[in-house]
Chain length 528, copies 2
């Protein structure tokens, strides 16, 4: 099998699995992404390793689950010793860059301990994490935070070149709207979400990142590349430029998925999350009506830009030598289950779209098909390694290459459960339930039929996805389901003991050691 | 409370908990260690994190369990990002050195990736792991292995200065005996264990390491220090210098602890270990009789040298400002349970002696007492940090300071179970049971009453320590104990989810982040 030369790894932040027409949204038409699905495989049961930006992304870049790689939340640094995509692909001569968001914080203490200077080339690569410096932009730049980081933002420089003045045009134009009396209305306030941003569409973040990805690809010439085009949207601030801000009215919304039953004697951790401000605001009358137009418009905008980018790849012949992957780092409750944001494990939060288009003839048989195998975000790194011909790293990578699925083969021993976890130490919910920073942990295991969520120190949640696909009836404390819970508990332990934490020696190294012992002169238990 | 200035952290390799007279051995008198116990606290239920040299030691140096630190076996490098004793104590101005064995392999790949040169001072410290370069000697130097490592061994140079000639006097003198016909008999062969080594007692490894520890302490002058005096013996090669080689005859042996019952339908992993060569040899007639005299003599020799070292510390006044800790990295089956070596979780293997003498007045109340709290090897680092006044590192350290126990207080929330684990990928037993290198894992949880061992992919072992203190009756598959097994299984999951893998942010950092969010300008879920 020939090797893939380039990989375009597209991520849209906070994009729900069901907000694309190829995944069944009846009103949000995304013809360009649909076309990608028609040329590739649409994975219908793809799950993230953690429904939060930073840890989820770190799993996509390291191929390891969250408590294996250690970047358990957005602002928890990825330990300096963790290997990422760049470590695996750079030795093959693949230029590996991010355009947009990673939400990773450099491990400054770990670097200082090892004498690694963050301003050297190596230091910069390690800091972001493993990608060549190009156009990293984590997309959240309120002015106090921007000042705290030194004020530098390339997108702001570019906006100023386009005529948007001031210290922080990201905040004041791209994520703000004009008020009726000439005042500037902040995109940080949800009530403004249905207003148009103060930038022209072609100067918005989505437009800029697409442009920069194209520049990176052009600039790479014949050098193989992995471009992680990582859109900041449709993540909040929910604010779309015209005309995308008012394309969608209430008649196009998916109905809200929530039940009064969920608020009757809820699991205590779920209860604490429902009581967080963002959840209460999204459960209130008017919020969905105001936010959904922007959320949907931002997705529509991404689809339009991707259409132009895909066309260009076709025209230049690059599409033939490029694997294209589109996914998200997590979903968005948008008021479903009385929740805002993500963090917990309902399908709206933990399940993501995943489309992979492999241009090679071997994948012809699966073009336009859907695959319902249980796949995880940690499967991406092994897939990229197999696609480019990089050596596998099974002692470290916890996922499996999706390549067989792309050829239409489902291995007999494919996993029968997906796993996700969260460190919720950083949320008001932890304080509500009253546990310490190292005990705010939850682990999800989802099989064909069951979704089991183990909260450290609290009763679990259990959902019967066959009987209750909307996840309204929590059987976590129901006396009839003790056997199911025990089985799921045992499976969870099995999954936890499968973490790959012997990272400094390959499986082949293990096998070789047994043979090597014979020639070292060390003799154990020899009588004479 | 005043701070401890110095720490003498003594480890004897492969020393069983019950081969010291203060722990009840009726014939092996160790008056000097007993005197230490009389001045300190003897911990009667101390357990290692893994009954194998390298991983057990790495837990003592990092304060983290084995699959948290990642050095899962002797020759698996400790990942470069793991912090060790030196990282915690060096900022306080404490000189931190090893004299003797660590059994740690440097993470050369990890260092190379981060541009860290192993020949620089930082590189050397990281390589051994975290200790200042002084007298590291891992104590296993068969000639092929020594050549492979470049042939350098300081102990060999010293032996040559004393008149022992040749390429490898470690092998040919210190761990060899004279045969009846002038031939040299190897200490690697168990049948030679009852012969005297070809070195004088004062030139043996135990004598040399004690000497070097004293030199290190003298050399440190008024600088605070931690000296990890890490004896290579009584670990094999089992060979003692005269007169220690024949002080102990069969009348002084502890009776062998094994039962035919253990071989009737044994747990498959236990069965595979019993079938390893070292187990079969130690189960054969004559092995214990030949090996035990050397094993016991080597312990007696350590006791004598420690007596002189302790006397010197008293004479120089250093004893008053030095905390002395004595322990082991694991035990030795010595034929018990039809096993040789260690690796599994019977008390002979996983339980160790632990004596701590704190010279401060606050510890006066506990002098000469025994403590039966369940303690673990990972408790040592937090103890050392509290003793020296170093800041705690609760986000990374998985054990608890023993300081309250040294003051006679048992915290109400002290642990009610100890944990140990093994990566047995490197043993013939893995091949016998037919699992892959990442699946050869076992986890022990021992409570007051029960010992539960979860073998990944196989039935567990379960022992009722009240009814069956010798651990002969494996209840792991007995139908009457399903409830106990389930409870232990749930507790094991609880322990596994308590691993500290958010190592790049302190608990205080977590709490501060929640407050900081308010001033960053990021607003989540605000309506207006």
């Amino acid at each position: 099998m020939s090797m893939i030369k380039n990989i375009l790894f597209i991520m849209a932040d906070q994009l729900r699995w069901d907000y694309l027409s190829c995944y069944g949204h009846p009103h949000l038409h995304t013809p360009n992404i649909d076309k990608l699905a028609a040329r590739g495989v649409r994975f219908d049961r793809a799950y993230v390793q953690s429904p939060v930006c930073g840890p989820s992304r770190a799993s996509c870049y390291t191929g390891r689950t969250v408590f294996s790689h250690g970047a358990t939340w957005n602002r928890v640094p990825l330990p300096v010793g963790e290997l990422t995509l760049g470590d695996y692909l750079r030795p093959l001569g693949v230029r590996t860059a991010v355009v947009g968001k990673t939400h990773m914080v450099p491990d400054r203490e770990g670097m200082a301990r090892l004498g690694l200077n963050p301003t050297t080339e190596l230091g910069m690569i390690i800091s972001q994490p493993g990608f060549d410096p190009y156009e990293r932009d984590d997309g959240l730049h309120p002015t106090p935070l921007l000042r705290n980081k030194g004020g530098m933002l390339r997108y702001n420089d570019w906006l100023r070149e386009q005529g948007y003045e001031g210290e922080n045009p990201w905040n004041d134009y791209a994520n703000a709207a004009d008020g009726p009396d000439g005042e500037i209305l902040s995109g940080w306030h949800l009530k403004n979400s249905n207003l148009p941003a103060r930038v022209k569409e072609e100067h918005s973040e989505t437009a800029y990142m697409t442009l920069r990805a194209r520049e990176f690809i052009e600039d790479s010439g014949d050098t193989p590349w992995l471009c992680h085009l990582s859109y900041i949207k449709p993540h909040w601030p929910y604010m779309a430029p015209a005309p995308y801000h008012d394309m969608y009215g209430p008649e196009t919304f998916l109905p809200v998925v929530r039940s009064e039953k969920e608020r009757e004697d809820p699991n205590p951790v779920f209860d604490a999350f429902m009581k967080m401000e963002v959840s209460e605001v999204f459960s209130a009358q008017g919020t969905r009506e105001t936010v959904l137009p922007a959320y949907m418009g931002l997705i529509k905008q991404i689809d339009d830009h991707l259409g132009r980018l895909f066309d260009w790849l076709e025209e230049t012949g690059k599409a033939d030598e490029t694997m294209i992957v589109l996914t998200s780092d997590h979903g968005d409750y948008l008021g479903d289950h009385w929740m805002g944001e993500k963090e917990l494990f309902h399908e709206q939060s933990v399940r993501v779209p995943l489309i992979i288009c492999d241009p090679r003839a071997e994948a012809d048989a699966t073009r336009g098909t859907a695959c319902d195998a249980l796949v995880e975000a940690i499967d991406l790194v092994p897939t990229f390694l197999e696609a480019t011909g990089a050596p596998p790293a099974d002692h470290r990578l916890e996922g499996r290459s999706l390549m067989p699925l792309l050829r239409g083969e489902v291995p007999q021993d494919w996993r029968d459960a997906v796993f996700s976890e969260i460190d919720y130490a950083f949320y008001a919910a932890r304080e509500t339930v009253g546990v310490g920073p190292s005990d705010a942990r939850a682990y999800m295991l989802r099989t064909e039929r069951w979704k089991y969520i183990h909260f450290r120190g609290f009763a679990p949640q259990l959902f019967d996805l066959e009987q209750d696909p909307d996840e309204f009836s929590d059987l976590g404390r129901h006396p009839d389901y003790e056997t199911v819970r025990q089985e799921m508990h045992a499976r969870l332990l099995d999954r936890l003991t499968a973490r790959k934490n012997r990272v400094t020696m390959t499986d082949e190294g293990v096998r070789a050691l047994r043979r090597d012992e014979d020639t070292s002169g060390i003799m154990i238990g020899k009588w004479g």
